[in-house]
Amino acid sequence: MVIDAHMHFDIPLKAGVDEARRVMEQELELMAEAGVDGATGSLIEPLRCNCVAHSEYNDFFAATSRGFAGRFWPWCVVNPLDDDAADEIRRCYEVLGIKALKLHPWLQGFSCSDDYCNPVFEVCAELGMPINLHDGSPPYSATAGCGEVARRYPEAKVVLAHAGLNDQWRQARDLACELPNIYLTMSGPSMLAMQSIVDNVAADRIMYGSDYGAGGVSLIHYRLDKIKQLEMDDDTRRMVLGETALRLLGAK
């Protein structure tokens, strides 16, 4: 089973739930044609720094995703600078049934090291909710800075969404080797980097992720091709292509 563990839907809030469901069905169908059986990801709009309606977006995305159980697992988004960010995460988990959080420090304009992030990470650690962080883009999304969240919160599950991209993948690999609560989606590094990650990091912490939504369906093909060409045994391949993501989501 192939699960895309890092993707985005570019569906505006104003589309409404019915239209959003239609788009989601269409896009999941496109992914299925590319060989992807399921996906997990966020909306794009609430990741922009001018978003002030995260609760509304989370309600909208949860309602949209409800008809796609077993095929799509939504992430909620909050702004850590909001006083009620931690409460909103708890509400997403307990009331909406959302099991993961997406943060994009670069786009959202905050540093994971700042104190106001602490309640956000604490509640995720308490709930066992994976925190998916855009990484590989200094300064706010530097891989070492994102990885530091895992060091400070050993109970938190921290996903480095790009495994360090082109320039910081060795840091992503080394952090994942050192800290058992770091997970990597390989959306961006070169083949050589990905092979080094697969050779050194436990398979139950590596995932395929296309970052679809940041680009078209060709991204799915491109990044799936890269994974398929890596040298790894069948168990590792099964984990990387889907099983790790399902376990992380509590879906397996």
Partner: protein
Amino acid sequence: MIVDCHAHIGEGVYQTCQPAQLLAGMDASGIERAVVCPIDRNLAVDNAEGNDYVLAAAAQHPDRLIPFATANPWYGAAAVAELQRAIEAGARGLKLHSKLQGFTISDDIVNPLIEVAGEHGLPVFVHSGTMVCAEPLQVAMLARRYPSVNFIMGHSGATDFWNDMIPGITGIANIYLDTSLNNPTSIGSYCEAMGPERLCFGSDFPQNTYPVELEKLQDAVPDEKQRRIVLAETILRLLGEEVG
């Protein structure tokens, strides 16, 4: 014909690639020729060793490998002398990697090397996509300073600089884009905005494999005529060769 504008050979620290390994990869994917540059440590230090390695490989396979030389600008006059030596020995272009070589690509420390390449009418391949030292708009500053020199921007700004590429690079006619490591969506949009004549197929071998990079290009540039230009004609023109 397919010509790879970006490959590395040599005995490096993080990468090693013998000419035979590169040629086997090229043969398996129908790549006729490749630009070869020194590998990681030879870009940073011991430039002459790296230049001799690519020159020797190209001398052995003159119909397949096109040597580009490097010189770390921190070596000053010695860097200029090394580049001149390598050009006299057959180097067809200059490769700069400001991240590995420890300078910012727009800083004037690099000027003497660009001037040598310019005097010989050779293209300059520059790494891009790394913050602070290799940003596309820094490459643009350099290219504006030397409008008669052609620059090939490695990775075309991947990953974080896609916003800068079309508004900042389209109007600078002496910047060409290497497709390696960039994603098919971005490459497709650059091709649409700037035309295939500004794009060169590259792999960054051994960082990436040919089958993946070639298949990506099929998605990125679906028009066969345009893809032919990207796959070979642009880099051949930059090298001053006949385009068949």
